[in-house]
């Protein structure tokens, strides 16, 4: 098992190097650079050139990349142009808020998606099955930002049940209940797509498993249906679902940009949105690198966890 873990860990290194290359050079493809943003519209070409020189932007690209990567590995992602602060500090602080949202949304997605899938499978072709699959199709197809806006208009503006934005109240004390209250709408919005995907996958896997021979045997032994499903079928049916949950958590990290913007949730997504608007390239670069790295690491965790769940996987690897 340890060997499997180490192998998987080593395999992520080239992936991370690839990620860093893509992130760095994509930013370089965008016309214009930090020097121009810093210098302002009034500056002469010489002034821009001087700033470019002081930022090291006049050196060959591979030198810039090596310098950038060397610093990034040591935790230095440069300095935000617009906010004049170290990027690493900023993105790490904001990642925490994104994780709060992503984890809440994951919990909601699992709590809604998996039971809905089980119910659908065990009540195949019933009204429950049809209704939950229609809702799942809806949840899967609705653009996230649209769903967020609808939630805001209905639950914030019309019913005044939940706040429309932010992570805690700007007036009055902020505590855990306040956080939960602010978290509800963005987490529900973000959970929409993964809940729908989980529901559909759980349903189809469970339906397939329920026709397996060992399940028939269990039934033949006279076990009651709930026990057949819970004790025998579910374990095997949920194995691919675990992988999907892992992938969905990665999606939630990246996909939260729209939800965070709509709800002004102070996470990495909103920060990226602001940074793109302000053409704050070091901040965009740092944020994208962090999201991509998180995605790779989450997939690594899923791989290892999967190995724990199913021994066949670690042997074939």
């Amino acid at each position: 098992m340890l060997r499997f873990g180490i192998e998987r860990l080593l395999a992520t290194i080239p992936v991370l190097v690839g990620v860093s290359i893509v992130v760095f050079f994509t930013m370089k493809l965008i016309p214009g650079d930090a020097a121009q943003v810093l210098a302002g519209p009034q500056a002469t070409r010489e002034q821009v050139a001087l700033i470019r020189q002081s930022l090291g932007l006049d050196r060959p690209l591979y030198v810039q990349y090596a310098t950038w990567l060397g610093r990034a590995v040591r935790g230095n992602l440069g300095r935000s142009i617009q906010l004049e602060a170290p990027v690493t500090e900023m993105v790490v602080a904001r990642l925490r808020n994104t994780l709060v949202l992503a984890i809440a949304a994951s919990v909601l997605a699992v709590a809604i998606g998996v039971p809905a899938g089980i119910l659908s499978a065990t009540h195949k072709s019933s009204i429950i099955d049809r209704a939950s699959m229609v809702v799942a199709l809806f949840g899967n197809s609705m653009p996230t930002f649209w769903l967020g806006l609808v939630f805001i208009l209905v639950f914030s503006l019309h019913f005044r049940l939940f706040p429309s934005n932010g992570m805690y109240s700007l007036r009055g004390p902020a505590g855990f209940p306040d956080l939960l209250w602010h978290l509800t709408l963005p987490a529900l919005t973000l959970a929409g797509v993964p809940a729908a995907v989980l529901a559909r996958l759980t349903r189809s896997n469970l339906l397939e498993t329920l026709t397996d021979d060992y399940v028939r045997t269990a039934r033949a032994k006279g076990l009651r249906e709930p026990r057949v499903v819970a004790r025998h079928a579910l374990g095997n049916a949920l194995l691919p679902v675990v992988t999907l949950i892992g992938i969905q958590v990665g999606y939630l990290l990246g996909g939260s940009i729209l939800v965070e913007t709509v709800f002004s949730w102070p996470g990495l997504g909103l920060q990226l949105y602001d940074a793109i608007g302000a053409r704050d390239l070091p901040l965009v670069q740092g944020g994208v690198l962090l999201v991509a790295t998180m995605f790779v690491l989450i997939n690594l965790c899923v791989d290892i966890f999967y190995g724990v769940l199913d021994p066949r996987i670690r042997y074939s690897a």
Binding site: A39, I51, R160, P163, G166, L170, R171, V262, F263, S264
Partner: protein, 532 residues
């Protein structure tokens, strides 16, 4: 938050139940009571608060709340804001418009307790103009090149007198000094934090002190109890970034915030019909239009440019497409802003005349034009619809314009390098708040690569001569007349195709009293108080 909303609703229910008469005197007392924190919904996260770098209007307007400048446009006045003394109480300008001697306000302290004096002013100016200064700020110097780019000397005459000498006549220096980035910062704070970290610890002399920031959540400002023009009535204000327009309006409607900027056009009716809210438009000093290519044909033809100008139905555009958030532009300056002249004769909507001019220009059967527009529509929420509408207007007279959307930086490069042969015009939204902008837009010696504000290569010897004369004319009334003549000349010349002057919609809760919504990108919360 949930509790506070329900408490408010509960109280308002009681108020209705027990009758307004009993509560009215109490409400009146509450309105007069100073204190409270104003919560503002901002359209983007503000940048760092350097006193000398322009990080866009969402940040710059906050500089006006933290800092003072030597002179200022009085943002507590709705229209045509006068130029007033701020940290300078009086000034003398030499007849050659090169030497400015300012008498400074005495007894003013920075928020860190250090005194404001002539040495502080010199420190600020040197920092952004003298490369040998210990705290020379390269980016600041770039940003303030217009005002400090040609300084001959800056002399402290005595503790409260400073003399600034320009190499060339610069009669427009005072309005330039009123711009937000000419704010005076505490030298002690700059020395303490250094250029890199100072923007995170801004210290000025303004009505509000910077009190900290939680990125993505809020920036907090506290009242300056010692403000020389009188302390603000509110305890402070919070800037809360709400980039999504619908969320911003919702937050105002639910009372989560008290004040918002940039109300989206689709929500204006809902805000207007809400009895607890006020919605007010402000004319912005913004000119939206097209910069024709004056270097390469066919737009070198004056008649063609005039035809383009006559072809646009500005009234319908402002009223219907832009939902009233604009005025039809006649010239460079917007109505209700300091540089506006009602006597300028601009262009109306006359397609027949446009066709006539087109034929006279040698295009009786029309012609194709390549127009570049910036991605996102140059700072207007209607950018794309406006260009589409104008495309139809052009088509109706025979001008087949292709509008190519360009990524922001590609577009900026075209501004900096000048319009190339393959492009006939650039669509821009310019902030034209002072006459000095006419210098930047139309002087032939500021064509690229000497600047990026005359990318259309406009060159007119008589305009150049008049612009130069204006810079040497210290008499305000005379200079104003000169600039109006220049404006009329460039309008007649169709140097630009002027289309509209945009407006901003700002809204606030009725409990916010005393806010003046100026015709400007800038505003101050100094006059605000919070009622019941």
């Amino acid at each position: 938050m949930k509790r506070s909303i329900s408490r408010r609703r509960f109280l308002s229910t009681i108020a209705l139940g027990t009758g307004g008469a009993m509560l009215a005197p109490r409400a009146a007392r509450a309105a007069a009571k100073p204190g409270g924190t104003l919560i503002c919904g901002w359209e983007a996260e503000p940048g760092a608060f350097d006193n000398d770098i322009d990080r866009g209007a969402v940040t710059r307007t906050l500089l006006h709340n933290i800092y003072d400048r030597l002179v200022d446009r009085d943002m507590t006045v709705k229209a045509n804001q006068p130029l007033v003394g701020n940290l300078a109480t009086s000034w003398q300008v030499s007849p050659d418009a090169r030497t400015y001697t300012f008498k400074l306000r005495q007894g003013v302290k920075f928020h860190d307790g250090t005194p404001f004096d002539a040495e502080a002013v010199k420190f600020n100016i040197d920092r952004d103009s003298d490369p040998s200064h210990k705290y020379y700020n390269q980016a600041g110097a770039g940003s303030l090149k217009l005002g400090y780019g040609d300084l001959d000397s800056v002399t402290v005459v005595d503790k409260y007198t400073i003399r600034i000498v320009h190499k060339e006549p610069f009669a427009d220096f005072l309005p330039v000094l009123a711009f937000g980035t000419y704010s005076i910062a505490s030298p002690a704070a700059i020395q303490k934090y250094g250029n890199d970290d100072y923007p995170n610890h801004p210290v000025g002399t303004g009505p509000f002190k910077y009190a900290g920031r939680e990125k993505g959540v809020k920036v907090t400002f506290e009242r300056n109890p010692d403000y020389w023009a009188g302390a603000p009535a509110i305890d402070g204000f919070i800037v809360h970034p709400l980039p999504e327009a619908v969320t911003r309006v919702t937050a105002l409607q639910t009372g989560e915030v008290d004040w918002i900027n940039a109300v989206n056009p689709d929500s204006m009716a809902a805000v207007k019909s809400n009895g607890n809210l006020v919605l007010e438009l402000a004319q912005l000093p913004n000119t939206w239009g097209y910069i024709p290519n004056h270097k390469y044909p066919p737009t070198t033809s004056r008649q063609l440019r005039q035809a383009m100008s006559w072809a646009i139905d500005r009234d319908t555009l402002a009223r219907d497409v832009m939902k009233g958030l604009a005025s039809p532009a006649r010239g460079t300056h917007a109505p209700g802003t300091p540089g506006y002249d009602p006597n300028i004769t601009g262009y109306g909507y006359d397609p027949a005349k446009a066709k006539q001019l087109l034929a006279a220009a040698g295009f009786p059967n029309g012609l194709p034009l390549e127009v570049w527009i910036p991605a996102g529509g140059a700072g207007s929420p209607f950018g794309i619809q406006m260009n589409e509408f104008i495309q139809q207007n052009f088509k109706a007279v025979g001008i087949n314009a292709t509008f190519s959307q360009q990524e922001f930086q590609t577009f900026q490069n075209n501004m900096a390098n000048g319009i190339q042969r393959n492009v006939n015009a650039l669509q821009v939204g310019f902030s034209v708040d002072e006459f000095v902008n006419l210098q930047r837009m139309f002087r032939s010696d500021l064509q690229p690569p000497n600047g990026n504000t005359n990318p259309g290569w406009y060159s007119n010897a008589s305009v150049d001569k008049q612009l130069k004369k204006a810079l040497g004319t210290t008499n305000d009334a005379q200079r104003r007349r000169l600039y109006f003549q220049i404006e009329q000349t460039v309008v007649d010349d169709a140097a630009w195709v002027f289309v509209v002057n945009q407006k901003a919609a700002r809204a606030w809760s009725k409990k916010v009293k005393g806010f003046v919504n100026p015709n400007s990108y800038m505003f101050t919360f100094r006059t605000v108080s919070l009622g019941g």
